[in-house]
Amino acid sequence: MATTTAPSSSRILERAESLRRGLDVSFRDHIVETIYDDAQAIAERSVRHGRPAGRTWDARLDRVLTSKIWGFPIMLGALALVFWITIVGANYPSQMLARMFFVIEDFASGLFTSLGAPWWLTGFIWHGVYRGLAWVISVMLPPMAIFFPTFTILENLGYLPRVAFNMDWLFKKVGAHGKQALTMSMGFGCNAAGVIACRVIDSPRERLIAILTNNFVPCNGRFPTLIMLATIFVAAAFPPALASFAAAGSVVGVVLIGVFFTLVVSWALSRTVLKGEASSFTLELPPYRRPNIGQILYTSIIDRTLFVLWRAILMAAPAGGVIWLLSAINVGGNSLTGWVSGFLDPLGQSIGLDGVILLAYIVAIPANEIVVPTIIMAYLGAGMMLELDSLAELQTLLVDQQGWTLLTAVCLMLFSLLHNPCSTTIWTMYKETGSTKWTALGSVMPLAIAFVVCFAVAHTVRFFL
């Protein structure tokens, strides 16, 4: 690469400099106008507008989907429908998978024992690592395999820009970019993907706001937790016929709380550390397109489901091993799990949770997906052979044995929604912002909010009850 300034190149630059001085300030506008005029002239010569063949339904549909009255109800309805399909559809396959995995666990650990393997080897491999994997797959795979394709259909149809159109004024009001509705929607799939999607926002200030608040929409790794809690604690309070709707409704409620926090935190950021006005932009409402089924299945199953599941598996195997070890190693008459969760318990209780849940959140920093499996494994301990292959048994464990209440469930849902992003998202935030300062803020701020909110909820409820 030639780096020396050749005399001729400086001659060009000098000439440009002097010519520029002689030019009108409107030079740039002039060029842009020329481009637009040329484009118009060329398009006019080659384009003929005839009678649209069945075009009007687009416009009519857009009027409804983006209407002031129907826009939001339809949006919530679509979201609720996606969750409902996921909850109803995932229940049965989840149980089947769990049952199958536990049959294998019984068989394999029995085989190990009969072959004379030491108890700790059998325990570590089958009741630790394997059980962690089994839980993650049976808890996560069915909801993801249903949620991702359904969500991708909405995406391919062209619904997301309409969502952005509907929510634009909200984001503008809090001083953020209207396209944040798009990046927020992408966060439903995976917050790391949502953070990358923030590149569609040009203004650095608004892009930072979008990156820092993306975590407030629950990602797919957190949905199984929310769905499980909604099913066990909320749906149980309703007659069976309404249970699934109640569960879907409460997940939508959690998402709305997430959107609320997205807006409040965006507002707070744009009033304090990221001051500025919302910039305007043009949002194209792309035509509705017939989703390509093969493409949707490929994108949602291979790119999304298996990708996320693989990541969860990579994290779950060591996490399962760690929890088993913590439970198996006895120090002074109590297991390490007992010591650590006992130490964390006062803090956990003060925010409506308990020590085991906090321990699970620490273990689950690499991937939120493994929170529930970790909690269950920590509760069950190393020696216990309880098989949890249905939600009813899970309910028995959590409510009857561990004393969970509706308050625990609500606080856990809020904590799951608001707490710090997973390590992948934190790493992505660092790569996208290139700043440790913003990454730290984006990680610590949600955690602080989660603690404050759960603390407030727990103490308010306890005060009145």
Binding site: L160, R199, P287
Partner: protein, 273 residues
Amino acid sequence: MTTKRPRSIRRLPVVEPDAPVPAAHRSLGIDTSDFDYLVALAGNPNTGKSTVFNDLTGLRQHVGNWPGKTVARAEGGFAYEGKKYKLVDLPGTYSLLSASTDEEIARDFILFGQPDCTVIVVDATVLERNLNLALQILAITDRAVLCLNLMDEAQRKGIRVNHKTLAKDLGVPVVPTVARTSHGMPELVQAIAGIASGAIETQPHRIRAGGPTARSVEELAELIAEEYPGLPNARWVAMRLLEGDRRVERAIQEGEFSDLVAEQHEPAVAGHH
């Protein structure tokens, strides 16, 4: 549905997405080794660029119906008539004039990446708006093909585009396509090959400023053309310099343009005076 549909819709051969494409091109997936030609894929957001990319390379780059979805540069390969092509999917932009990251990536690639052909994907239903970007690209490179995509939607909306008139006005090949159904893709590949090998000569439409501005632009362009003979976009460089474009100024200072000219003449020895 309406009872009478225009006959022309029926004439569109509908190819099922997964059926074997009648094209002579062969998708190479992510294999871009030892390519003979470099092809850039540019266009406005949401024009089906990624669909064109997937069709040519056989890859499954995520296709989403929302603007700005392709955030990272995707690369893939295909082969046609014994030559290997490396295809680079650039981020979708509305123009190349402002300083957003996406526009810079797209512009720098077309300017300094020296693609042997740039495919400009446009949405046939909103041609005028899409032509703004197309004209800016044609100001930079003369090795380009216009892919007139979403022809099915244009027909549905009663919009008819005369691609021959358009090709004459733009001075580059124009290929009508429906990328989702692979319609027109063989013709597109053929046009790409023609441009890349030099078999098809182009006379791209160039933006010309009028009045006193024109004289300054022409004067500077002449100086630039003198310094870098063979540079295909002297007038565009002049306009950018007059506007005070720092990136282009730096390119002049650091001799990047001389490198480009040198590369064009001797592909083997890159970057030396």
